[in-house]
């Protein structure tokens, strides 16, 4: 892809240092700046997604009310809200923040090189991503409103305007998603190539920090799974705009084909966002437990196992979608098998705590919370992976609660864990621990108050994407309404507490105390650079002598042993 670089750009990179604000912060090719761009774009999109969640949760609890700060949530608006809440949180928050932001920031710093191998491709990747975000946001304001066919965008509803009634919205949504995929393909190839080729001298494969392994494996999973969906997106765009019939059975197409194209990507996608967070958690628990990561290689094998298995389970999203019932048996087995590497991974993380000396700093709290909450997400997945039980649970709030118990820990908890951990490196200031802990508890407690009740409602038969349950006598029992009120209250509480985070962010940026090079006494290479690292990261690129997790090595005065410290 290096061919993209046009000759007239030659001096740009060299002339970087004396370049002005625009060059430095908007059109920079520096991996740290690009990481920040991804992160703050992702956070901005996250606020939109959260706002949508607030609006439709109020509507669910108090149907027909004039939601403060939003207005009345009509049926069509409700569908658009849930659709875009899902799309935003997965494609425009989880992906850019976990994969792109942390990937861009950490890969060069942890591997001891001065930048990504293709800085310009990297910048192009962000610019395409930004464009996709703009297209998506614009789609909310076109005639007919934003796309309202659920984030899975099943045809024929999404294929024909007369069904979906969002003539422009659906095409813009699809175009935005396709652009986003292109952005992450470019970024992913950059990540993979950098990690494969540009490790610091002396760094063997097993000296690579876990988070880098995870991000690279995630990029590979994304790259291998997204292709069919890109093809599918082209086909669906043509169905929408050119009148082809790829997904129209009357004219020789098949709507089920889209579901396969979508979920062949959609399931690996879960692991694409899961793995970076799992890696971040590995870095944090080892640092704050002052422990070597338990069975490094086994973790690695579980990652590879998960990655390969994740390509064989996709149709468990379609058990009752009209696929041949005989296929369901195969997909049940593969789905339950995938619980094994994941379970082992969680066991290992818990085992890592054994014999440690655990400091409950804010990042550590987030990391531990991830393990606890993700356990719930993992075990409830078993109910849905088991085809027999899924007949009842499919498309109920049980499913919804399940994947929020996976995606919330992955995206939100994972983001806060990484952000509070690397903040000193990113901005050269320490964060306020007290505010951090308030924010933590103010997020975790309401989160469980939202989604534990949703498991119960789902088990009681409450089905998804319904803007008003008053039409369903069995779903209008008093206890259900009370539960919905509790949930709405919890949503508002949780969102309110996010303000604490932004206050903490602003306070620390302005008045935070100066961060030393290595505030957490951690081993990995990024902590040997200045905080924040200058352009080029190191005056002299480091050399590596040992693995990343050599904490509390017996017979050493210090309880940590930086990777670059000669023996």
């Amino acid at each position: 892809m290096a061919e993209h670089a046009a000759p007239h750009h030659h001096d740009e990179h060299a002339a970087h240092h004396e370049a002005g604000f625009v060059r430095t912060y908007l059109f920079s090719t520096d991996h740290k700046i690009i990481a920040m761009q991804y992160m703050f774009t992702g956070m901005a999109m996250g606020l939109i997604g959260a706002y949508f969640a607030y609006a439709f949760n109020m509507q669910l609890a108090f149907p027909g009310m004039d939601v403060p700060g939003f207005g009345v949530v009509s049926a069509s608006r409700y569908n658009a809200l849930v659709t875009n809440h899902g799309s935003i949180m997965i494609f425009w928050v989880a992906m850019p923040v976990l994969l792109a932001a942390y990937g861009n920031y950490l890969i060069p710093l942890m591997l001891g090189c001065d930048d990504m191998v293709f800085p310009r491709i990297n910048r192009l990747s962000y610019q395409i991503f930004l464009l996709s975000a703009i297209v998506l946001v614009a789609s909310f304001f076109v005639p007919g409103g934003g796309f309202a066919g659920a984030w899975t965008s099943y045809p024929p509803l999404s294929a024909k305007p007369e069904y979906g009634l969002t003539p422009l919205g659906s095409s813009m949504w699809l175009a935005a998603v396709a652009l986003e995929f292109v952005a992450f393909l470019l970024g992913g190839i950059n990540f993979i190539t950098t990690a494969m080729n540009s490790r610091a001298p002396g760094m063997r494969l097993y000296d690579v920090p876990m988070v880098i392994w995870m991000i690279v494996v995630a990029s590979i999973l994304f790259m291998c799974s997204v292709g069919p969906l890109i093809a599918g997106a082209i086909m669906l765009l043509m169905d929408q705009n050119l009148g082809t019939a790829f997904f129209d059975p009357e004219r020789g197409g098949d709507p089920i084909l889209w579901q396969h194209l979508f979920w062949f990507f959609g399931h690996p996608e879960v692991y694409v966002v899961l793995l970076p967070t799992v890696g971040i958690v590995a870095e944090i628990i080892t640092t704050f437990a002052r422990k070597k990561l338990f069975a490094y290689r086994t973790v690695l094998y579980t990652v590879f196992g998960t990655g390969v298995l994740s390509f064989t389970v996709w149709a468990h999203h379609q058990f009752i979608a009209g696929i041949d019932p005989r296929m369901a048996h195969i997909f049940t087995i593969t789905t339950l098998l995938i619980s094994i590497p994941i379970a082992e991974m969680m066991f290992i993380y818990i085992a890592t705590l054994y014999g440690g000396s655990i400091q409950f700093t804010t990042p550590m709290l987030w990391a531990l919370a991830f393990i606890g909450e993700f356990l719930i997400g993992g075990v409830t997945g078993i109910f849905l992976g088991a085809s027999g039980a899924d007949v009842y649970f499919h498309d109920t709030y049980f499913v919804l609660a399940h994947f929020h118990y996976t995606f919330f820990p992955i995206t939100i908890i994972g983001f806060y864990a990484g952000f509070t951990y690397w903040f000193p490196k990113m901005f050269g200031k320490m964060m306020d621990e007290r505010l951090g802990k308030i924010h933590f508890w103010g997020t975790i407690i309401p989160f469980n108050m939202i989604f534990i009740p949703l498991f119960v409602l789902g088990a009681a038969g409450q089905h998804r994407r319904i803007y008003d349950y008053r039409n369903f006598p069995d779903l209008s029992q008093p206890w259900m309404w009370n539960t919905r009120h509790v949930i709405a209250a919890a949503v508002c509480t949780m969102l309110a507490f996010q303000a604490v985070f932004f206050i903490n962010l602003a306070k620390s940026l302005i008045a935070g105390k100066k961060a030393p090079k290595n505030p957490w006494r951690a081993n990995t290479l990024e902590w040997t650079a200045e905080s924040p690292p200058p352009h080029g990261n190191w005056a002299e690129l480091p050399r590596v002598y040992r693995g990343p997790y050599e904490y509390s090595v017996p017979g050493r005065k210090q309880d940590y042993w930086p990777q670059n410290e000669p023996a």
């Binding site: 291998c224 799974s225 069919p228 059975p249 009357e250 020789g252 098949d254 089920i256 084909l257 396969h260 062949f264 390509f311 064989t312 996709w314 149709a315 009209g322 696929i323 041949d324 019932p325 005989r326 296929m327 997909f331």
Partner: protein
């Protein structure tokens, strides 16, 4: 390094190209015998041979690091997996407990005589 290898055993690219063209002619000639399995063989068998020839002689995949071939093979395997998982629904007109009436109607309408080369 790939180049080093390549110069050690030089490939006669003109000859490779010539063979490719010959194969192309065969694959075009195949259907004229009008036997389905011959057509399939000359069409897709030769396509695979040509693809491998280009990959080896022009892209030098066999001179690259081993893992390159493994990556390519892996993604191809994933595509087979995709086909295996999807075809029971999309490639069939009816299955266990479901049927696509419109597809069956269309099939009935088209005369069996025109059953194409790709027909199983």
């Amino acid at each position: 390094m790939a180049h080093a290898h390549a110069t050690h055993h030089p490939i006669n690219y003109i000859r490779v190209w010539f063979i490719l063209v010959l194969l192309l002619i065969v694959s075009v000639a195949g259907p004229f015998l009008g036997i389905r399995w011959v057509t399939l063989l000359t069409a897709f068998g030769i396509a695979c041979i040509k693809a491998v020839m280009v990959a080896r002689n022009f892209m030098h995949i066999n001179l690259e690091q081993r893992y390159i071939s493994y990556v390519i093979i892996t993604v191809l395997v994933f595509m087979l997996l995709f086909f295996a998982g999807v075809s029971p629904d999309v490639m069939k007109k009816e299955g266990s407990g479901w049927v696509k009436p419109s597809w069956k109607a269309a099939a009935a309408a088209s005369s069996a005589a025109q059953g194409g080369a790709a027909h199983h």
